[in-house]
């Protein structure tokens, strides 16, 4: 049974969005910018959550209030030395090694700190030693392009405290059906997150591989 979130949360999403903006102080990344992942006290992170969110652009004109559904899917691809080793997506919710988990239908944390439409948890300590990059993508299963999506974002949250560490908001949707959002990669003994923001076309992550590879 594919766990698939169908979204029609225009009003709620907007409210949540504002709520989040007000509560978290985090780094707003621009395309290509990286940030090293550590707790506010400088200690190494143990578990992070990559939350992805979006909302449908409101319709204009006649029947503008009709609900519009956009079904985006978040995936994470685990790479070892630029070779894909495992993929976490709606049909394979946990990487074989158990380090990366897609929450599927679950909104972890509930309304208080929620707001992510899909979330992928990464237990950084359990990531196998040869995995050096994890790439996060969003693609439109139903084929709508990002022109119909507003405010797609990804943010990385310290899973142990709930604190948002960094956020990357996509600007300017366009005629493409997928986005390579960000990657989390090893840096020295720790990890770093880099915003990618590269548009691509495809229905599932396999179609995105040619776009991902140059970004590794």
């Amino acid at each position: 049974m594919p766990l698939r979130r169908v979204l029609c949360l225009v009003a709620v999403g907007r409210w949540r969005h504002r709520f989040r903006e007000g509560t978290h102080v985090s780094v707003n990344l621009s395309k290509g910018q990286g940030i090293s992942l550590q707790k506010s006290d400088g200690a190494a992170l143990t578990a992070v959550r990559m939350g992805l969110g979006w909302r449908a652009a409101p319709r204009r004109g006649l029947f503008g209030k009709r609900t519009k559904e956009i079904d985006l899917d978040a995936s994470a691809v685990l790479f070892a030395d630029k070779q894909p080793v495992d993929v976490v997506f709606f049909r394979h919710l946990v990487s074989d090694d158990g380090s990366v988990k897609h929450t599927g239908d679950n909104l972890v944390g509930g309304a208080g700190q929620g707001g992510d439409d899909e979330a992928i948890m990464v237990d950084l300590q359990r990531v196998p030693v040869h995995i050096d990059q994890i790439v996060f993508t969003v693609n439109s299963f139903t084929g709508q392009t990002f022109a119909e999506v507003e405010n797609a974002f990804c943010r990385i949250v310290d899973e142990t405290t709930g604190e948002e560490l960094a956020r990357y908001t996509l600007t300017g949707g366009g005629q493409y059906t997928a986005q390579i959002m960000a990657k989390v990669h090893r840096q020295g003994n720790g990890w770093q997150m880099t915003a990618i923001g590269e548009p691509a076309n495809g229905r599932t992550f396999q179609d995105l591989m040619p776009t991902i590879l140059p970004k590794l």
């Binding site: 143990t46 080793v85 709606f90 394979h92 946990v94 074989d96 158990g98 237990d123 196998p128 040869h130």
Partner: protein
Amino acid sequence: MTAELVRGQNHPLPGTRVEIRVSAGAPVIAGVTLNDQRGRMRDAGWTAHPAAPQLPGVEVSRQAAAVHHLAVDLDALPQDVHRVNILLALPSGPDFPPDFSALAAPFLAVTGLDGEEIASYTATGLSAESAVVALELYLRQGGWKVRAVGQGYAGGLAAMLADQGLAEAGALADTINEAVAAGMARSFGHAPQGPTRHTTAARTEPAQPTSPPPPPEGRPALGAQQPADGPGGTHGGGPIDYRHPRRATPASPSTPPPAPAGQPRPDTVPSQAGPPAQSGTGAQPGTAPQPGPVPGQPGGADSSQPVAGDAPGWSMEERLYNQVWGMFEDLARSVAAYRSAVDFADSRMDRELDSVLDDPRARVGPAAEAARAQAQAKRDALIEQAQAALERDTGRLEAESEVVEPALPPALARWDNPVWQAYEPPAEPPMALRVGDLSIPERAGLRIPMLVRLPLERGLWIDSGRPRGGESALVDADELRRLAQATATALAARIVAVHPADELTLHVIDPAGSAATALLPLVESGVLREPPAAGASGVARTLERLTQRVDLVQMAVRSRATDALPPDLDLADQLLIVHDFPHGFDDRAVNQLRYLADEGPSVGVSLLMVADREEARAYGPVLDPLWRSLLRLTPVPDDHLADPWVGHAWTYEPPLAPSGSQVVPQVLRRVVAARHSSGS
């Protein structure tokens, strides 16, 4: 890089469009059948063969040929298809070889669209068979994989089609042979020669000794999740210690169990709202230990000590059950991380060495030496890191196991657990039963309880046949049979003991009395109320009674008239132990046994069989559904079980009491005493 598969091994497919190239030493028929998630052929049309060669997504040749190219588009298959079986058969007729014995082993290669080989398999070991299920492509966790099956059929095409679940397989086989004969005129002259023949011969050599052939029926997944993965060719490691290394002094656990409820007894109210009785409970996302007890940093401040019962659940029993499944999953995944890292380190070194060799000028000399040494050092460093991570994870799980084991209630505990010394018959049946231990070569000492839900959803089969794994080669056939009988008694004693004294009735069929010694504890204690049924008449009588009971209860349940059941009907659950199958069984008895295996579990009748599949070979494939419906256990450690998450091969070890221990007779005597005191 091509994966050369051995029987039972699987390999992921990178895409959904593949070509399967078949080359055989003589013209063969190629066919395809499709199965749904439950392994059934949902639609009679889910088959492609020379008389009806096309299905959406796959097409086979109309004729027999020594070389086949099957193009498969997995995306285009009918919805709900989860498995594609690739079948080969020799056509019938005087012009064709009667079986594969005189032919070179059929060779199959799975290639991508670009022609690059993904995996190959040489179907070795065929002799009297004239048909074979060669490969299966199957969907697992969203990705397609290929598995080398290599299941041959001496009964030929018809037997294979029947086993695939096709109605009127005989008639269909005739139709296919006719179609093939009609197309034959065109087919002859197609020389089967090609470079593949040569590689086939070369491949058979190394393929055989590298990995143990797994059981042909596939590796049943624990928790009965759908597709069971074969072993990833992961076998070996050092000799496995079958003893209980950590339990050498069971009476004095050095760390007292910090279980809040002390030694939980089965009389803790078993939850009514436990996890769904559906299989695969352990796979619930919520059951894995949550980030609370995140594995601490190595050497860092790791204050969180493992605690027994550290998992969700309504009762201590359920929490421990979930915790054990959580440990099982964690170990499976940690080993997956380790194996994946080692594979990667090896393949990276191979690549780097290849690139050194690519440049003829750099092949020799100090620079090449240095490059080689560097590649080797990189590999070793990565493997060392992977080992450290595995060490950290397993150390944690070992510590957890040390506190969990002593806290387990009898139904989940090993026989050497002190909880059995203080055993009293429980007031309620438990939610699960430990039917043995599981371990994995990387940490043979860390043994995970293998728990199955009660009431049993499928019967148990203790395989007394020649083991297919390597470890038990030292045990001779008689000893194996004796161990299988002893295992059955140990399991039966466990099942009886964990039920309230009057809620399980035991029946034994021992047609030739060959299991008398093993049955002694059950007979002497009086747990077995009637002597074991002997001879063909005893077999018939016992099966007749149980079949009738199943019929009656089913009827009563269906018509909601349970109060209309005859007053003398034994309302207790029934466990039937069958020794020496199919000795003393006629066709009618075999049918009744199959009926009990299928229908019994839903009305409280379970089956525990001790059997060697080879001895029932005369019945042909009609018994295959029976074997498949049972959970296969082995009397000696054997790596034939797969976990539901990653599909590693786990070594199963049966739940035997330590030698010389009197715990089993002692427990059984208490059961009988409790029966007497309750006046039955």
